[in-house]
Symmetry: C2
Subunit: 215 residues, 2 copies
DNA sequence: AATATTTCTTGATTCATGTCAAGATATTGG
DNA sequence: CCAATATCTTGACATGAATCAAGAAATATT
């Protein structure tokens, strides 16, 4: 649903207000890294759209091309892969203020093997490929933002791979608990297990062990 | 050794020539993604240095801050971590035409937990932190190059994590063989095992199994 | 060429974690 | 509020890969 469409339906005023509030969050996120002028914000307003997803609905299913980058205003999404044995492997969680997409598919326009699904009812701001390309030239700060975003994402992923190599499941779990207590509480444990590269049973046993320790 | 220093020692002409040849490789690498003017190249010549490393020498040892990004002109480096049990875990190989550093330490200037070591006698072009910052503004194309470099590195790492989740050691090994036959031949097998998140013994058995299949 | 060092292979054993199954608990929807 | 569904726990067992150890092969060093 683009802003143009929003303007044409009932209660346009309220819905526009919601749209503007959502965008404010988005601008705040960008403003932590770059400076945005009012003119910049106006350009964004014309080039992004919003989308609502109920729990279990998909933003992207494997086999499709990833057509947009999503900024999560409300709710939470997850991206995951399904292997030959039908096991899910979670790549990323994206709660409020995070971005999510299949960058590879988005850039190359190849078919994605990733699923991106709402873990909760969610509200998103979407930036299409065309908009993304346009915005990077129209708003130079956005180019800079993405530069830092990619660099940061690379460094985080490096850390995650390091943890996979260096830490036991127990250590990885307690680390996740301390860094993202929020996510670990909002998401079923079997998804945490999947994110950590383990199984629900094993994580359950790890938790039992941790809680015995603390008593 | 900076170009200025190079100019002041014996056989300056020859050494300068080597320096220029090394830089040409570096410029070719950049030119695959961006356009470099002669003026740009001149700026680079003034802000990068060269370094030779004999096999087993370090570019970076854990506990130090990563002070430069290295472009490998000749030879090969590896970056790796050492865990509590003194096992090495290889993060990256960097043969000719690749870059290597601990990006995290380089950016944040925090102490690195990574070791970067020459696997073969190597010749490098080094870009210091100050030079890197300067070059990104003095040569806008370099900023753009790094944008793409980080984005690409992120996508590659995503694939590697995916492979760790989805593929067996055997599959990961054959995939590595097909994508980087070069690296797998130049490096001892126990390092390949480490890169794949396995042990020398297990990789040896995997290879045996693969070769039996092919007969 | 000879010796030392590194690398690779193979067997025996151990161990962590996955798998399967069943029941308990919690959550959601009519 | 009850039924249906999803989630979590626990036990028994299987299995893949790590570990330990020793010898073979290859490579480097003098």
């Amino acid at each position: 649903m683009s802003i143009a469409e929003l303007g044409s339906i009932h209660h346009a005023k309220n819905i526009n207000l919601v749209f503007l509030i959502m965008l404010d969050n988005f601008f705040n996120k960008l403003s932590k890294a770059i400076t945005l002028t009012e003119a910049d914000k106006a350009i964004f307003r014309q080039h992004v759209s919003v989308k609502r997803l109920r729990k279990h609905q998909y933003l992207l299913q494997e086999g499709e091309v990833c057509k947009s980058v999503a900024f999560v205003y409300k709710g939470m999404l997850r991206s995951y892969l399904v292997d030959k044995k039908n096991n899910e492997h979670i790549i990323q969680f994206a709660p409020e203020d995070w971005f999510i997409s299949d960058l590879n598919s988005f850039i190359t326009e190849d078919i994605s093997n990733l699923n991106i699904e709402a873990v909760e009812d969610s509200e998103l701001i979407l930036i299409s490929k065309a908009a993304h390309v346009y915005l990077e030239t129209a708003v130079p700060g956005f180019y800079k933002f993405n530069y830092m975003q990619y660099r940061g994402a690379y460094m985080s992923l490096q850390k995650r791979l390091t943890d996979m190599f260096m830490l036991s499941i127990e250590e990885r779990y307690t680390k996740l608990l301390s860094i993202y207590p929020d996510i670990t509480q909002r998401v079923p444990q079997h998804m945490i297990a999947s994110y950590l590269g383990s199984t629900p049973e094993t994580l359950s046993r790890v938790r039992k062990k941790i809680f015995v320790k603390k008593d």
